[in-house]
């Protein structure tokens, strides 16, 4: 029997109408995005955008599917800079030996991103563009002091990770612009890197998380980067705690006290929202606990202990 369309197939469609284009070159893609106007959206992995379409939370007029732009599928290390193109999937990050060796924090965090099938499609740049405060990637990029490369038909610009977020699920991207690459500078040799998070179930969005990079020279903290996940409108850089750590004596006997002080500082600074998953107070408590754990693990990995 020849397959037949379901009689109600058109009524059963979830997503609202949009114009769909799948350009083959970046130039065509950027032109399509420009022509689409303010309600055009880029479709990469689609693992956040498609649910939003299915639930009709988002209703873009145009979808520019970039999956056929092969030049965006690059994962390279040039000197001390890791460059991840807009089509690199979470699964590609997990398979990359270069990342595991030089940017282990990125690998560690990516193991916590959703599940196998989602990681096969979802992209790092997509997660950063989406800027969900509970997502791992925006915070990890900020912890590395990375940057975002943005393109439009007018040209490209590079923006520091800390300046990219513009509130919850919002970024400084203008209409006609898209993220084509993110860049992660390599921490100094011997830096300790760690990511910890708490989620109700493996692969869920984090209720809270903490990412830390520590560099220790001659018993003193030479560099500290600390970001907490799930606390604010976007990645939350714990600048006060970083200031407290940098320059401090850091050895096995004093580190516990120092990290407790840093955790207290973080708990002071964050102002987490309350939602169905956790109260504000519980999130603040987790921020402290996870900060201590991330710092202790990162310190242990500096080899100074």
């Amino acid at each position: 029997m020849a397959p037949q369309a379901h009689p109600d197939s058109e009524k059963r469609v979830k997503a609202p109408w949009f114009e769909y284009q799948a350009p083959r070159t970046l130039k065509e893609g950027l032109e399509a995005l420009r022509d689409a106007g303010p309600d055009g959206r880029v479709l990469a992995g689609g693992q956040s955008l498609m649910p939003m379409l299915n639930m009709r939370i988002a209703a873009p007029t145009h979808l520019i599917d970039i999956n056929r732009i092969e030049t965006l599928n690059h994962l390279t290390v040039e000197g001390d800079m890791l460059r991840i193109g807009a089509l690199v999937r979470h699964a590609d990050v997990l398979r990359s030996k270069k990342i595991r060796e030089g940017w282990p924090l990125l690998t560690e965090a990516t193991t916590q991103v959703a599940h196998l099938a989602i990681r096969n499609r979802g992209t790092v740049c997509g997660s950063i563009s989406h800027n969900d405060p509970a997502a791992e990637h925006p915070s990890i990029l900020a912890t590395y002091d990375g940057s975002v490369v943005i393109a439009s038909t007018e040209g490209t610009r590079e923006v520091p990770a800390d300046a990219f977020s513009d509130g919850m699920m919002s970024t400084i991207l203008e209409p006609g612009e898209m993220v084509i690459e993110v860049r992660y500078p390599r921490p100094a040799a011997g830096a300790g890197q760690a990511f910890v998070e708490y989620a109700r179930r493996l692969g869920d969005f984090a209720v809270a998380g903490a990412a830390a990079i520590l560099e220790v020279r001659e018993g003193k903290c030479a560099r500290a980067r600390l970001t907490v996940v799930g606390m604010g409108d976007g990645p939350f850089r714990a600048a006060g705690a970083e200031d407290l750590l940098i320059g401090a004596e850091m050895d096995a006997s004093t580190s516990a006290e120092l990290f407790a002080a840093a955790a207290a500082k973080v708990m002071d600074e964050v102002d987490p929202a309350e939602d169905v998953h956790a109260s504000s107070g519980y999130r603040r408590h987790l921020a402290g606990v996870l900060t201590k754990r991330a710092l202790a693990t990162a310190f242990a990995r500096t080899g100074s202990v």
């Binding site: 397959p3 037949q4 369309a5 379901h6 197939s9 058109e10 059963r12 469609v13 979830k14 997503a15 609202p16 109408w17 949009f18 114009e19 769909y20 284009q21 799948a22 479709l43 689609g46 693992q47 498609m50 649910p51 379409l53 299915n54 639930m55 979808l63 599917d65 999956n67 699964a91 959703a114 599940h115 196998l116 099938a117 989602i118 096969n120 499609r121 179930r201 493996l202 692969g203």
Partner: protein
């Protein structure tokens, strides 16, 4: 552009050329247009894993993929798991023998996910199996029998490789 686009794709070894509404999900295309109703839809926003199919060898949520995106792709669904002589895939046999399903609604997604796991990692630990299957929700089995079935399938597939 327009509301419909023509795609060509291969599903379970068979080639199709079809005009699809651009907003149609791959899951709806498989079920409603190709009548391959073995791919089940649970949550339709990527959480439950029931609709998982294989695209170019990788497991993917068909509810979060547009049918137009499957242009030029090779897709395998639950209907494509039997071999040419009509025998079940080892993973299907193993789920059958180990009571790895009750109502069966989630099973197609579990099978596609497990096959990808075993292709990448033919000798997984139980923890690795549980991690790989963590994106598939089953509301009747309690998972233990599913994990047992995947471990048994891994063993059987390794044995078959030797012979």
């Amino acid at each position: 552009m327009g509301k419909e686009q023509t795609i060509t794709c291969k599903v379970n070894g068979r080639s199709y050329e079809k005009s699809v509404p651009v907003r149609q999900s791959l899951a709806d295309f498989l079920r409603d247009t190709l009548s391959l109703t073995g791919t089940h839809l649970g949550c339709e926003h990527g959480v439950c894993g029931a609709c998982t199919v294989s695209i170019n060898g990788r497991s993917v949520r068909s509810c979060l993929t547009l049918a137009v995106q499957a242009d030029e792709a090779e897709i395998v669904t639950i209907e494509g798991l039997r071999n040419e002589s009509g025998e079940w895939h080892q993973i299907q046999k193993s789920f059958h023998e180990n009571f790895g399903l009750q109502c069966g609604y989630c099973t197609p997604g579990f099978l596609i996910t497990a096959i990808e796991l075993l292709e990448e990692n033919p000798d997984p630990t139980e923890e690795e199996v549980r991690e790989a299957l963590s994106g598939n929700i089953c509301r009747c089995s309690g998972y233990s029998a599913i994990v047992t079935a995947v471990m048994a399938a891994a063993r059987d597939m390794r044995e078959l490789q030797k012979t």
